[in-house]
Symmetry: C2
Subunit: 335 residues, 2 copies
């Protein structure tokens, strides 16, 4: 009913595909606190390499979050706890392009004799250090690149690998909501569902596993909503309780709800940590660059989603942030 | 990059396609309070018929909600206010299969001499009364059926028509979240994005136009969350304020947040109206049939989403509902 064509291959991609075909023992790894795109892409690539009769290990700096445990039923996601990794001749770094994003695994992998392959959709800063790279920062997810690789190698993903690609896509596009949701992303998702992925079941596993206290905690934070700049800036605060910091909310429900307000362009969420620190999460719905804002406070991230950890009392940090954020609105208006 | 094949055509569908090709002046209509699927399908069919050089009017019992005003920039959505509808030889009823769902328009259309075509994805109860029907209750949206019609007639949808189909699909699948999201739905969405639909812009228009008071109102309702049956049943209440009823919340954020709790299978939201009435909205995440529950209280709907308007004081109605809902859990356990 639907057919996806084989994507054209660049010279650099051909080198990457050759390395995948030539290698025999593969170690797949990713960044610290691996997210859905990272582990989904690892699962998908493990499925491709297994179809090619390769030996494959997945080893990350940190364990997989419980919301993705359906992937852990089909693949073993190792979490590095010291010692020697399994013997391998190719290391594949997924969803990042620098080994130092691999935490404690970085030195071990950098020192090894294996050839290095990067598969990623982020911008790389600095000179290339790898043996081969399959990179496209126009792709919505790293898992989408693995799907291209499978098509270019003529390999049909099994259901477990298809679940990996689907996980990558939905977590990096906010379940098809963000502006990176393009035609290829939706077409690949269609192909995956045709190959047995159940979107409803995955949605429940990824997003519907909140604690019973979650609605009340969410309501409490929403009650602190304040607007500035004619409603273009919304701020919520989570003061610390007793000696510890304020507990982190599970997921992005509060940020999503504030973004749903028509006038809102920028959302700042401030959580007081123990020890006189405040954690900022900043989101933008427009061209407003929250990365630039977060950098003023020693943090960073992307234009539409950034963060920082800031020294100071909650109210004082909030005032500083509101002043800085408001100034950027006025600068953007050219005054 | 992606190609959608022409779907096979049944004999009944061929009659419907013939009527579309033979008619000259078309009146497109739908149910009272037309939703995204209804007006999206109307927009898409208007685009198809215009490509066939037909004259087309869209006339609904009620006006289009502001969240869909991007469609109203390309098409005129008339709202019936009495008198004679434009002269037409074919009436097309979209997203429902009974003229009496058309409110005040029902009698006018039933009395007219035009031939009647139904395009719908709901189950029809009772004998067929139409001249032709294009019905598939396995389709995720009525707009998806119009996309099939376009393919079968060999017509390429323009951007305005593509936006109509996309609107139908996303509003009836909860933006690709519900279990009706199948491979065809995603493949058609991919095709529409390839034809110029901007998912990000449509998401903002449909879901991100809330009032500034929305986060605070949402927080207030979440603060009333109560659990029963080991957390499988969640209940929130909105008591009336002063003489009027409690204001309705915009959208389904509260219901979605409660469904996100892992233990929750059923959500009941109770809003006190003026005049001793309580409005129930019930949602199910599992096989639990909230339609059966709502029917006990004189309401109805679907297995996963139902409602009722119930006489009584808020607390008393809540108690009756919790008892009835809990009994159904125990019956399902076979005790």
């Amino acid at each position: 009913m639907i057919s996806l064509s084989k994507p054209p291959t660049t010279a650099a991609q051909r080198e990457a595909l050759e390395l995948l075909q030539q290698g025999r023992r593969f170690l797949l790894t990713g960044h610290v606190r691996p997210d859905g795109d990272c582990i989904g892409a690892e699962a998908a690539l493990a499925s491709v390499l297994t179809a090619l009769d390769k030996e494959v290990w997945i080893l990350n700096p940190d364990p997989v979050e419980p919301q993705f445990d359906y992937l852990a039923r089909d693949f073993v996601f190792g979490a590095y706890d010291g010692g020697e990794p399994p013997r391998h001749d190719v290391t594949v770094l997924l969803d990042c392009s620098e080994l130092d994003r691999c935490g404690r695994l970085a030195d071990v992998l950098a020192g090894g004799a294996s050839r290095k392959l990067v598969i990623d959709h982020h911008l790389h800063h600095g000179p290339p250090w790898w043996d081969a790279a399959y990179v496209d920062h126009g792709a919505s997810a790293t898992g989408l690149l693995v799907h291209r690789i499978a098509r270019q190698l003529g390999i049909e993903l099994d259901r477990a690998g298809a679940q990996g690609v689907f996980t990558s896509i939905v977590t990096d596009t906010g379940w098809f909501k963000y502006s990176n949701t393009d035609a290829e992303t939706l077409a690949v998702a269609a192909d995956l569902v045709a190959h047995g992925v159940d979107p409803d079941a995955l949605y429940r596993s990824i997003y519907q596993r909140k604690r019973r206290s979650h609605p009340l905690e969410t309501g409490k934070v929403l009650a602190t909503t304040e607007y500035y700049e004619d409603g273009r800036l919304a701020v919520v605060t989570m003061p610390r309780e007793g000696d510890g910091g304020a507990p982190a909310l599970d997921g992005d429900d509060v940020l999503d709800l504030l973004r749903a307000v028509e006038s809102v362009e920028v959302v700042l969420s401030l959580r007081e940590l123990a020890g006189g620190l405040v954690k900022l999460s900043a989101r933008s719905k427009t061209d407003y660059d929250v990365n630039a804002l977060a950098r003023l406070f020693g943090g960073g991230g992307h234009r539409k989603a950034s963060g920082a950890t800031i020294e100071g009392e909650l109210d004082e940090v909030k005032d500083r942030l509101v002043i800085a954020a408001s100034r950027r609105f006025r600068e953007a208006r050219g005054s």
